[in-house]
Amino acid sequence: MKTFPKGGVHPSDHKQASGSSIEVLPLPKSVCIHLSQHLGAPAEVIVARGDMVRVGQLIAKSAGFVSANIHSPVSGIVQKIEPAPDVTGFKKPAIFIDVQGDDWMDSIDRSADIVKTTELSPEEIIVRINEMGIVGMGGATFPSHVKISVPKGKKAEILIINGVECEPFLTSDHRLMLERGEQMLVGVKILMKALQVDKAVIGIEKNKPDAIGHLTGLCSAYPGIRVEPLKVKYPQGGEKQLIKAITGREVPSGKLPIDVGAVVHNVGTAFAVYEAVIKNKPLIERIVTLTGKSVKRTANFQVRIGTPITDLIEAVGGIPEDTGKVINGGPMMGRALPLLNVPVTKGTSGIVLIPENEANRREPMNCIRCGRCSAACPMGLEPYYLMSLGEAKRWDDMEQAHVMDCMECGSCSYTCPSGRPLLDFIRLGKNSVNRIIRSRNK
């Protein structure tokens, strides 16, 4: 069974939510939509206080090539446009809408039948994806139209679909593949048309045998698309690791997947592409896993963007008494929330509630030079060395030691027996080196 050869760790799966089928969360009373739901420039507001909006209406325009449109996920009245805390606690510009009814734009096709072909040309598909505000749904939220606009001089040879979901606890991609597999495959076909490739491989980890079986069965009707089961190892879902496992090619340091002819998209993005191209529906809702060891029940909610997270927690019976940490995303790369009053964004893949007795880090000890961090790093870096450079603030040396290759997967901190905060200092180094590189290029 294929896998990536270098590094990786094996955290416990905790996939207790994989049996919960997708349920639609009732509409919230009000939504808060941040203008920066994606990588790149924040979108620019085009509505004003007091405006009536309908579901799917454009409320903020993309502010450049690497940016995305934002559409209203609800119908109602724009209450205010002012900074609101996001997952970091810092206040960022956001649009507040009071929800009234569920009135959709007429252009959106709300029927449930699955249409398997599109008449749009590749260029039109890319324009449609841009218009509908589709971004990477795996959590990185990179604007999708940028990824499938292949730059001149490069050629896409293979489309890889990321159904790996290597993060513990999260199951939204799993349920999507099981319950909306057909639509997702049509989305893959559309992406293949846009990229003008004839090969697509869906990578799925072995711990989802039902999804592998289901999609393999469906794929027989789609020439060019196949399913590749992969060994369970974190971070198999990382772009570069997935390309290496499926094609054997290594993306060179500092370069992009397109440089080895590969384009990688999440299964959720493929599904969103289907809805955008076939049903003319912009990205206004997504599947969010709500899980944890002590929640009363787990769930995979279909949620409108902008819904406060407290609504999701209430829907599973309220926050457990012993909760010590609430994570937006998965436990390996997700963000711990300082406050619960934050909304779901396009990149929210799950909310994990961690009990108090597991919420604390160990007391860090001296580095015992065991080398486990180096062995675990999927990018072949030396985290112990990068951390000591970071503590000494030697940013130039960190750049020489290729700290910018780090994908912040957390395998090093996960495996360190001394409990050292390796990734904290590596991140500090990356931020400082970024600043230095930007000032160098000015």
Partner: protein, 335 residues
């Protein structure tokens, strides 16, 4: 939301592996149990006394230095002092006086470990530094080895004899051929079990190998260092033996006697003082093998493992600086 709970905010990852320093040290102690059992069988009271005193004094010194010298929290709970104590004891003869053992512990913990900053900061293996200090300061007591089984009930007044390696070295100096010397020494079967003279931990190759396999199974150590040390020793002595079997003993003899297996499996693999990368570890292991053989065959001492490991410890920073793992996506230089 419960009343008093504040949400904890930390950087990812929020899930951690189950390995801790204490777990690793405990596993090393478990791996040393077979060798300890053998030492009790063959050296009896002496083994018990030496090991107990070494462990207790190592732990005591670490506690005292931490609390009263550095004025920090004691780090005894990570069990590394206990491991140093056991490994130091395994390098000593079973009739070493108490005060010498305590001095050895003081040097091992105080000089070789704490003066560099505690666990993880020392460049040299602490147990070996303690042992070499004792060897050079008290050469007579450190080279009088109690006879196995005979000295079981005695401690300081045990009957002593030379180790097989010492007998070999003396005999070769006197011009006797190796084959006649081998007749006076225990057979390989006895050596494998441990029925011969030597320090507490080095006698039984079988017990040590069982411990080593346990450590490799539990992923505490990797195979690179033990295999490269032992293979190098076997190769080096094998070549010499094939050239002139009357002057040089065969590789099996060299592998089963002396502290080479103890050194290869437990001392050289100490993670603080060994290289970080697999290739670096192989270089380290080969170096240890070569230096050990040079000392054993051409040097003045009959045994050279302790010195060779300490010498190679000094090269570890250099090895770590120049031997790096291949990065993902590393561009092959093509001009």
């Amino acid at each position: 939301m419960s009343a008093n709970n504040l949400l904890t905010v930390s950087y990812s990852p929020h899930q951690y592996g189950s390995e801790s320093v204490q777990l690793i040290m405990r596993r090393v102690l478990i791996a040393l149990v077979p060798a300890f059992a053998v030492s009790l069988i063959f050296f009896g009271v002496g083994a018990l006394v030496v090991t107990a005193i070494a462990v207790v004094s190592c732990m005591a010194f670490e506690y005292l230095i931490d609390r009263y010298f550095f004025k920090v929290k004691s780090t005894l709970w990570d069990c590394s002092a206990a491991v140093t104590g056991v490994l130091l004891a395994f390098n000593l003869p079973s009739n070493l006086p108490v005060w010498m053992i305590i001095m050895g512990s003081l040097v091992a913990i105080g000089v070789a470990k704490m003066s560099f900053g505690g666990l993880g900061k020392n460049p040299f293996n602490p147990a070996l530094v303690g042992r070499v200090f004792l060897l050079i300061s008290f050469p007579v007591q450190m080279t009088s080895w109690p006879k196995a089984i005979e000295s079981r009930m005695a401690y300081l007044d045990a009957t002593t004899g030379a180790t097989p390696l010492a007998i070999l070295k003396e005999g070769i100096k006197n011009g006797e051929p190796v084959s006649s010397l081998m007749n006076d020494l225990p057979g390989y079967g006895q050596m494998l079990i441990g029925n011969m003279g030597g320090s507490l931990g080095e006698i039984s190759a079988l017990a040590l190998i069982i411990g080593g396999l346990y450590l490799i199974w539990k992923k505490v150590i990797t195979w690179q260092i033990p295999v490269s040390v032992l293979a190098t020793v076997a190769l080096f002595t094998g070549i010499l033996w094939m050239v002139d079997p009357s002057k040089y003993a065969d590789p099996m003899f060299h592998l089963l006697t002396g502290g080479i297996i103890l050194g290869a499996i437990f001392m050289a693999t100490d993670m603080v003082t060994s290289p970080m990368t697999p290739v670096g570890q192989i270089i380290f292991g080969v170096g240890i093998g070569v230096i050990t053989c040079l000392i054993r065959v051409f040097g003045a001492y009959p045994e050279g493992v302790s010195f060779s490991i300490l010498i190679m410890n000094a090269f570890v920073p250099l090895i770590d600086k120049y031997v790096k793992t291949k990065r993902f996506g590393e561009e092959i230089k093509n001009g």
